[in-house]
């Protein structure tokens, strides 16, 4: 057997001195360091609680139809729970949007004209509003005061696209007013400066 030039020793490639010593000399001292994860778990738990609270406060309060781009304004009154009338995008008389009540289509905006409804009472919407009011009268809260408050709530959220003409808005407001919902709340996106603040000027 021929004699070879000795190669590098085991453990000589290990960078850290303590570990190299433990590998080479069998380890006189333990280098097994545990990571203290308790503060990290605390942090995660607090983060989860905070996010759940935020989600509970604002999420799921109002479903936004993808065809509704709500106008922007600086108002800061919080939305309350109330029935929602949505008016989707108006792309001209050829492509008018729809009127939805609680995300169900009620009538096309093409039909909402003073010619068809001279008294501004949209019959199809009136029917669903009457049903909703009747259902609201059967609602019960945890306390008698809360029940009374629930049953007498005349608010209605009008969630309209920014392109919807006023002729449709006024007839929807009039119909809601004549069918118990006399306090219209216009839903908006909160931004100071309005929509024109985020727009590019055209020539």
């Amino acid at each position: 057997m021929s004699v070879h030039h000795p190669g590098s020793r085991a453990g000589s490639g290990v960078a850290l001195k303590a570990i190299r010593e433990s590998v080479v000399h069998g380890g006189g001292k333990s280098v097994f360091a545990t990571l203290n994860v308790v503060p990290m778990i605390d942090l995660f738990t607090m983060l989860v609680i905070f996010l759940i609270q935020q989600f509970n406060a604002s999420g799921e309060l109002m479903l936004v139809n993808p065809n509704v781009a709500m106008p922007k304004a600086g108002a800061n009154k919080e939305l309350d729970r109330a029935p929602i009338v949505a008016l989707t995008r108006w792309e001209g008389k050829d492509q008018p949007g729809d009127l939805l009540f609680e995300n169900n289509k009620v009538v096309s905006q093409k039909d909402i004209t003073e010619v068809k409804y001279p008294s501004w009472d949209i019959r199809e919407l009136a029917v669903v509003l009457k049903k909703a009011w009747a259902a609201q009268q059967k609602a019960t809260g945890p306390t008698p005061e809360k029940t009374k408050q629930l049953r007498s709530n005349r608010k209605i959220i009008i969630q309209a696209d920014r392109t919807v003409p006023f002729s449709v808005i006024k007839m929807v407001m009039a119909t809601c007013g004549r069918n118990e919902y006399r306090e219209p709340n216009f839903a908006i996106m909160v931004t100071s400066g309005g929509d024109e603040g985020t727009a590019a000027a055209t020539k």
């Binding site: 604002s58 106008p71 800061n76 919807v164 808005i169 006024k170 908006i188 996106m189 000027a201």
Partner: protein
Amino acid sequence: MGGGSSGKGGVADANLNVVPFIDLLACTICFLLISAAWTQMARIDVDQALPKASPNKPPTPPAPEAKVNIVITPNGHLVNLWNASKIANPRPELEQVKKIATTGDFKLCRGKVAGDCTGSSAEIFKKYDYNKLRETLEGYMRDCNLEDKTKVMVAAIDSVQYMHLIRTLDIILTACKDKDKKVCLKNPSVGDVNLLRAEGFTSFD
């Protein structure tokens, strides 16, 4: 982590394996961050100005009160202060309708940030002079010493888009008499332009 034992009596040093718990928390945080609604919604309350159901007149006519009337037309705003000649600090000239014209157009892109957009995603809107409208309203409040209970009526021509109604209501609700914003207009009513024909508005051009 991990369990282990030491000592002669076989004392169990059982550590709780927290790795699955950390995984669970991390997944929950990711889910909540992704699904949270980051856009904040709010509301604007208005009163409805509908024609009265009862034809009977009230027994005693109320004392004349100043009332701010605003009409949104496709060409701009028309504003007046009705009954300005019958209040404590009479200013009859404010009953004349003041025109605040639009100042051009602006483009919004649906579902995208502002920039290059064409086709059905591009929407062109009239640019209304909201600064001038705010100055006018605040001028009415200062000149005639109006209170925050002052009635405000907003009407619009049928073709006016909803965005302009909301922005006008927003300006009304932030128009104040003083810099401290203690006395500001509130509770505007929304109605049809025909209700204003008897209050100084003869045409809506």
